[in-house]
């Protein structure tokens, strides 16, 4: 299985280098990759349907407990088949759809990467590696949405989509780590056995919230759904493959996968029912207001994703069977509708459904595919859609007290989904063919055959639901922790209440379709409410964040060095002051232990004090720098008094150099300005005195502490005996701690080089590397 997953990535890598050979006629060959994979996965159907679970394990990062453990059970198999099967058709379709495109190789590269990632996602048994692939699908989706990267709208949609799914991804990461910590393993199979412990843990709520965050963003649930319509900026094969059939179902996959681990609890079921319910109805209503075919399809996709979440929330065996069937149903008809839309767009140059009609006259096979898909989406017999819809009603009717409300919600959603399916699959082909479309012709077979195959499949398995019942659906139901005994897929259940509900749905839907034509006016009307749409609210929030960020950054990084210095000093004074006066030890200075001041010291102190005053009062930078130099020299003299002439010399040269460096730099700065006002100076003054006081207090307290003199005594004792030097300080400098001195010499050397280059090298405007 690892090879199967990696083949997608290798294919992409191969295209990076050999892409140019694959842009032309050979492009269609790339469809062989998903086809091969499809055959490979199909070969497992028998074994999996017999209850076998195929596993493969590879070590990756065992330190983190992250391993490439793959498991192929019914649920994984269903998704793998969808990914590779629809992948094959989309790969083939693309060869014609983007024929001659300059970057066709890149496109296949991204698709290949996506396919690999998506397969990895549905096959991983290790939660972290599942997350790895999860993120990779988001990234490949980003590149695919932004494929027409010179269009601003594409770029924006790509970023928005990645921002939404990416933020969900980070929640997923946090949730996975928490879950892994609670369960003590990242293996999902093992988690299923630990389910009671996980549900009983105090972190259960956190885990559920975080994983919901991941699933809802990825599967476009309200209020995070808005990235999906934007993602329609991608070329149609991408919309078909990622944003309808596979990637957006990753969230659904996650929920199904974790149903046996986390499911069955009130919070799990209720949240899913509510969010799924809102999503399915809200976005189904939205389809009424769209005129762009892909817009209609996007919203109806969201609606179906809502239905799936809703069904998982119901959580009964009926509901989960319905979910499994619905995944198949939706993948088949929605992919068909998208591919058909792609054909229409490709041949007529428009996707505006208000101007499209009568196209059956010029492209009959496409019309047939569209029609079959539309009736499947409507849930008309004998398509598989009918089976799916029945199961939905069956599940809502079994929900006790809430069955009426839920069933009505399901019916109204289905009515609207029917409407959307008809608008996309039937409306463009019926009616009168407008003059300007009379020259439209059929696309190549690579384009019309894939939707036809999908549409026919929907019909065939509708008539013989046993094709998927035993081999696939049962496997899914078992994988999500159900017995798989209760429900059997059948097209015909006889005349019963559910059939009546179906009939009501169809009647209402068809009525709606005939009464309510898509119109630009309605689309404009609803645009007026955009300001309360989640997308706008989130974008507004985003721009609020931007303004806040700008403010915050400007307040702190305000360009004034003096503010930087005072912020740092303030931070230090507050922090250290707090610690000094709030510590467990009471603040205490032992003044009796200090020696008396000498006259030399007093004079030097006086000089220092005066110079500092001079610095503070200086009217030019030069004066200030020179006065600072005097302070430095006074410190040197202190060293002399305490009999460290060598130290004094070092200090002396460093000081001198620093002053020179400063003076040089100063000369390239603008003239000295007195920019601080009175208030500012007082604040600065208080801060400086506070800082000075604090350091003084600390020093005094330290001085009154007992000292361990081992090291200094060693120096005093051994300077002459071992190091043969009479001056202890000298010996310390050149021998005991000679490395310090060596490095300080290097410091001086570098300083000298720096001064030299500052003096000599002034780049002219022409030959400088930087120009900002």
């Amino acid at each position: 299985m690892l090879t199967a997953i990696l083949s997608g990535f290798f294919f992409s890598l191969f295209l990076v280098f050999a892409g140019k050979f694959f842009k032309g006629k050979l492009a269609v060959l790339s469809a062989l990759v998903p086809l091969g994979l499809f055959v490979y996965f199909a070969s497992f159907i028998k074994r999996v349907s017999e209850g076998e679970i195929i596993t493969q394990q590879y070590e990756w990062v065992p330190s983190f407990g992250v391993n490439l453990n793959f498991t192929l059970d019914g649920l994984s198999l269903l998704f793998s088949l969808l990914i590779t099967g629809i992948g094959f058709l989309v790969f083939a379709y693309t060869a014609e759809y983007l024929k001659g495109h300059k970057y066709l190789d890149r496109f296949y590269g991204y698709l290949g990467m996506f396919m690999g990632a998506m397969l990895g996602l549905v096959l991983s048994d290790n939660l972290i590696s599942l997350f790895v692939f999860w993120e990779l699908t988001s990234i490949s989706s980003f590149f695919l949405i932004g494929f027409n990267n010179t269009s601003q709208a594409s770029r924006r949609s790509a970023i928005l989509a990645l921002a939404v799914t990416g933020s969900g991804g980070f929640l997923f990461l946090a949730g996975s780590l928490l879950l892994g910590g609670v369960a003590g393993t990242y293996s999902i199979t093992e988690m299923v056995n630990l389910s009671p412990e996980i549900i009983g843990s105090p972190f259960y709520l956190w885990i559920v919230i975080l994983l919901f965050g991941a699933a809802f963003t990825k599967s476009a649930q309200f209020p995070f759904h808005f990235w999906l319509p934007g993602a329609m900026k991608a070329p149609t094969p991408v919309s078909t493959y990622l944003h309808s059939a596979t990637m957006v179902k990753a969230g659904i996959y996650l929920l199904l996968r974790f149903t046996p681990v986390l499911g069955g609890e009130e919070i799990w079921n209720t949240t899913l029912i509510i969010i799924g319910g809102i999503t399915m109805f809200y976005s189904a209503v939205h389809t009424l207001f769209r005129t762009d075919l892909k817009g209609v399809l996007a919203y109806s996709t969201i609606s179906v994703l809502g239905i799936l979440v809703f069904l998982i929330g119901l959580g009964t065996e009926y509901a989960l069977t319905a979910a499994a069937v619905y995944i198949v149903v939706h993948a088949l008809y929605k992919a068909t509708l998208f591919l058909v839309t792609g054909i229409i767009d490709h041949e007529t140059g428009t996707r505006d459904v208000t101007v499209l009609s009568g196209l059956r006259k010029v492209m009959m096979p496409v019309a047939i595919a569209g029609f079959l898909a539309a009736i499947s989406s409507a849930g008309m017999p004998p398509t598989i859609g009918f089976v799916g819809k029945d199961l939905v009603y069956e599940s809502t009717l079994h929900m006790g007290d809430w069955s009426t409300v839920l069933t009505i919600l399901a019916i109204s959603t289905n009515v609207l989904v029917l409407y959307a399916g008809f608008v996309a699959g039937i409306k463009p082909f019926t009616g009168r063919l407008p003059e300007r479309h009379s020259k439209v012709h059929m696309p190549g077979f690579l384009m019309w055959l894939p939707p036809m195959i999908l549409a026919l499949l929907g019909l065939i398995i509708g008539i013989y639901p046993a094709f998927i019942d035993g081999p696939i659906v049962k496997g899914v139901v078992k994988a999500v922790g159900m017995a798989g005994e209760e429900v059997h897929l059948k097209l015909w259940h006889g005349f019963n209440f559910i059939l009546l509900l179906s009939a009501i749905t169809l009647t209402l839907g068809i009525l709606l379709y005939f009464l309510l034509k898509p119109s630009k006016k309605r689309e404009k009307a609803i645009a007026k409410f955009d300001f309360i749409a989640p997308k706008e609210l989130i974008l507004k929030f985003g721009s609020g964040v931007w303004h806040f960020s700008n403010l915050w950054t400007r307040v702190f990084q305000n360009g004034f060095l003096r503010n930087y210095v005072s912020t740092i000093i303030l931070f230090l004074v507050v922090l250290v002051g707090y610690s000094l006066f709030n510590g467990e030890q009471e603040f205490y200075i032992d003044f009796s232990s200090f020696s008396r001041m000498t006259y030399y010291e007093m004079i030097l102190m006086g000089i220092m004090f005066l110079s500092v005053l001079f610095v503070v009062g200086a009217r030019s930078r030069l004066t200030a720098v020179v006065a600072m130099g005097v302070v430095g020299y006074a410190i040197c003299l202190m060293f002399v008094i305490y009999s460290a002439p060598d130290l004094a010399m070092t200090q002396f040269s460093i000081d001198t150099l620093t002053v020179i460096l400063f003076v040089l730099v100063l000369s390239s700065l603008p003239k000295y300005l007195s920019i601080s006002d009175y208030k500012m100076r007082i604040i600065d003054g208080v801060l400086s005195i506070g800082f000075g006081l604090l350091i003084t207090l600390i020093s005094l307290e330290v001085l009154s502490e007992p000292v361990n003199k081992d090291v200094s005594n060693f120096y005093a004792d051994n300077a002459y005996i071992l190091a043969k030097g009479k001056n202890v300080v000298n010996v310390i400098l050149v021998d005991f701690r000679g490395s310090d001195t060596l490095i300080e010499i290097s410091v001086l050397t570098v300083a000298a080089l720096g001064v030299f280059s500052l003096l000599k090298l002034r780049l002219k405007r022409d030959d400088r590397e930087l120009k900002d």
Binding site: W60, V61, P62, S63, F64, V132, E135, I139, F142, G146, N149, T150, I159, A163, G166, S167, F170, L173, F203, W546, S549, N550, T553, F556, G559, L561, Y564, I568, F571, V576, S579, G583, E584, V665, I698, S699, V702, V707, N708, V711, D735, F736, R737, S739, D740, I743, S746, V750, A751, L753, G754, F756, S757, L758, L761, L763, R768, E769, L770, D772
Partner: protein
Amino acid sequence: MIEQLLIYPLLLQMALAIILMFAWNNTSTQKFISISGSTLNLALAVYLLMYVWQNGTQTVQAGNWEAPFGITFVADTFSATLVLLTAIAGLAVSSFSSGSVIPPRLKFGYFPIFHFLLLGLNGAFLTGDIFNLYVWFEIIIITSFVLLTIGGEKAQLEGAVKYFTLNILASVIFLTAIAVLYGLTGSLNMADLAAQVAAVENRTLVQVNALLFLVGFGIKAAVFPLYFWLPASYHTPPSAVSSIFGGLLTKVGVYALIRVFTLIFELDNLLENVLLVIAVLTLFSGAIGAIVQNNIRKIFSYLVICHIGYMIAGLGMMTEVAIAGAVFYLIHDIIVKTNLFMVSGVIYKLKANHNIKKLGDIYADFPKMSLLFVIPLFSLVGIPPLSGFWPKLSLIGAGWDTENYVVIGSILFASFVTLFVIVKLWGEVFWKNGEKLPELRNFPYFKTLTSVQKVQMVAPIVFLGLVSLYIGFAAENIQQLASRIAFELLDNQEYIDAVLNSAKK
């Protein structure tokens, strides 16, 4: 001879710096010496790490004065790893400098000073003496200051003044902290200090002392609210200089924080909270700072700050997992940040602009190069399984373990903003149709460079890209390294024994 192995990187860098000064005007000789010397240094560093991995912590007592009386150089796994990372980044930037820095700068001591900087970095990582560490910091500051100013352009000097002032302030605080420490214990040897500090009775002064170190190193590490020097200066020098700065300068501060707070001071409640609050605010400020910038290098500068927060958070949580996360992040970050600033340098050579609003077309014009640039960009974001992803596992996991939910939130926030910023940058710089930029007359455009120069600029990006990929895909090896480092840091007896007992042998 092998006993002194750990000081060879220091000797080599110093020798290189001195030799290079003799080739003052001969830029091609300088380039040759620098690149080949850096290659040799890399080999040495690899060998050192392997040696330490197999034989445990190594020490050298300078001048053969036994610890704690002389200066001890110590290579434990942490130090050896950082020396290796410095060698990797050093080689990359050495080559990048050869390709991109213009001759006038090279003729004013660029390479000697660059190697002095590497010397300082290696020294800071290898010293086992707190005052000696200060001295290495001095050389790092002075060399980086000179590297910032070579060329004497106005923007450079303005940035350099801020850089220098605030870093000197940091050094002053650091020095004050050393003075207090010496006053309390009478020792400077870090291994010795571990025991001495624990014995001090006045715990308040110890805490005050620890906070002084925290502020001093915090400025170097560019944490909130002490980071101001970084955004003020990183965008001003030549890209090669930004690269080595972005990769290593702040990391020395982080290294020092980790070392001091695992070896010398124990984190008490206050310190732990201060570190975590700082981490959260650093993640936050750095992230939102990056959102509002338009200059590529300023964006990267703020991201440097932002990501320091991860490491401080790891340090603040102080579990073995958290420290391993911080160390892993450190390893990843040095490589990727160095690389990013080199990427910005190549982009600048291509378009003569740093403004993402004006740039564009890179993907269309240079598809292969763009794919190359994706590696550091996405590694930075931590798109799994690239290098930035793995340490977050440890950090977030440790966050759950220690119930630091705000820290987890900040890590997620910072990761998200990083993702957003990089993706926006990708859209603007690589995808968009850029503005028609005026052709500058004397600008050394990439296309006007010799093919040797082009290779010198692109090869290090490939090199570091491969290293990043290695970190990502062979995360097991790196995590084992990081875990061992974390173990050694928290159980510091091996370090202490290696320093203090080797003398008695």
